[in-house]
Symmetry: C2
Subunit: 340 residues, 2 copies
Amino acid sequence: MTANRDRRPPVMADVATKAGVSHQTVSRVLNDHPNVRAETRARVLEAIDELGYRRNMVARALVTRHTRTLGVVSFDTTLYGPASMVYGIEQAARAAGYFVSMVSLKTIDTAGVRDALGYLAEQGVDGIVVVAPQRSAAPALADAPTDIPVVAVEGGHDGDVSVVSVDQVEGARLAVRHLLDLGHETVWHIAGPPDWLEVEGRLEGWRGTLAAAGRPVPEALPGDWSPRSGYRAGLRLARTPGVTAVFVANDQMALGALRAFAERGVRVPEQISIVGFDDIPESEFFTPPLTTIRQDFGAVGGHSIEVLLRQLEAGAEWSHERHVVPPRFVARASTAPPGG
Amino acid sequence: MTANRDRRPPVMADVATKAGVSHQTVSRVLNDHPNVRAETRARVLEAIDELGYRRNMVARALVTRHTRTLGVVSFDTTLYGPASMVYGIEQAARAAGYFVSMVSLKTIDTAGVRDALGYLAEQGVDGIVVVAPQRSAAPALADAPTDIPVVAVEGGHDGDVSVVSVDQVEGARLAVRHLLDLGHETVWHIAGPPDWLEVEGRLEGWRGTLAAAGRPVPEALPGDWSPRSGYRAGLRLARTPGVTAVFVANDQMALGALRAFAERGVRVPEQISIVGFDDIPESEFFTPPLTTIRQDFGAVGGHSIEVLLRQLEAGAEWSHERHVVPPRFVARASTAPPGG
DNA sequence: GCGGGAGATGTGAGCGCTAACAAAAGGGTA
DNA sequence: TACCCTTTTGTTAGCGCTCACATCTCCCGC
């Protein structure tokens, strides 16, 4: 355990000399090759320990042609959704013995994603997960590197890549069905920013479910995921006559809407019912606790790594998979029958 | 732009042949070496483009002995604090031309941190940022690799590394001072989990400020950062006579406490004033909007990279720096004079 | 007592790149 | 014209590791 502070770190040859074997034998020990005598192995391990030797993965990667590193491209990891996804990805990757190299984009645009993919490819990552929930990311995915597997999370459906996602349409359907079943005539909607695929899915599920039930479809209110935008939309809904039920595209905006209703003296759920989306850890403690649709971000992250590893093993001939994670309805206290 | 789908990707020598120059000249073009004729450069660039050549950073790293990758070790990046920190770190690193290799630990313990540091060192990262807010991470930092710079964020103060952190004691002082200035006799405290350095700092600031003002110091209530633990603590406070002001160690727990008070019919801020910590994006929309202490996580992340890069440039002889980011008081609607 | 096969170890080459030096090509001055 | 100096390009030798193969031991069976 001698630390050589200023000298160049020891290499395999140093260990070999010290143990009185060839560098190849050291390599064998390090890689758990079976054909090494127990005594030799012990001698090598001792030398490794004494020198404080640590193998150089860069040199190893040069010859093996893989780095055991996966690239992750993601949008704003400050948000709960992407953060949980990336966390799930990282955990699953490391459990499988892979490192994760991260690129978080401030804004998702085709050029940004393309650059990120290019950089990661240069770095020699073995595979890439792209958390690119916006439509504008799709073109970049279409001409992603073809020599390494790429998996998109919540991504475009047209690219030449595998996709793992939550069933957004179904999530919206669950929310709307719940409100209609309570007896509401129709359901309003505060949407997320346009261009997001999740937003499109939720809009589609909301509209479709209302239409299927023969209910009027109000105009969706715009939002940008932030509590503030939910607050503004809530203010508008509070002064719109006839609103009894709202489906909000995420929990943060639902929080803002809750605040707007509170300020306007609109009681939830007595006068207006509200359902969110995501089920962030805070939702359970909102005033009132928020009924919402749970997305299992961790599972999505985990699945994406599973798919990626499968393709990694398959080598050159992998097929594109599509994996859909179901959302779950979580009943709490923000909904009630109309006029409740 | 020919994609060679199945063939091995082109290497520098291929480009050289195609452009009719030596591989060294290709290398010069790629590295912006000044002494290359404009015409030659153009020819090389054209060949690069035609072959779809991409330089192999692994091979480059082997000879240059640096990877332009920084390692980040962090605790649960699902939490807003760590997530924002890591985001700030990643942004700053990439702006400086560095990649980020992530390891998020599920739990922080000495062995986990030590392993993570070891793995990253093997990967050949040029420097490491450790977001290790727990005391138990300190021993691992003490015997961190000595041949590359390591910066701790919110980390132990005894290790042989640079530290960037928010002034927790001052943050707590701001919160308590505010409540005392409003006329409250004393301030109760819902603490975070023990072992966290931030928790210790906030406890110290809370106790110290009360003591300095000659006020009684109640027993701190335990919490674990989660809204649920804040809820439980809130329930206890609601049935404790004489409580008029509470300083909560983070905003999530404050949310839980708010919920508990609402359920027990305790009005905030009229009957109890409450101050949080962190200023998460949601706080402004709590019921009521939460007065809190803002931590600039992004700035902390950015500073940590600044320090790291400075040490990277300094080469072998770097000195250990200590950088403290001030917290900021954010006034909203959850506090009022007692009996307000 | 000796060929043969399995196990244990060593040898040489090369992954794709950069650093250091060597060589060739221009361009001004004595 | 010869000379030197600068600019441009080429050549060679590794970086630290693994792979493929060669070699050397040892033990078994006939």
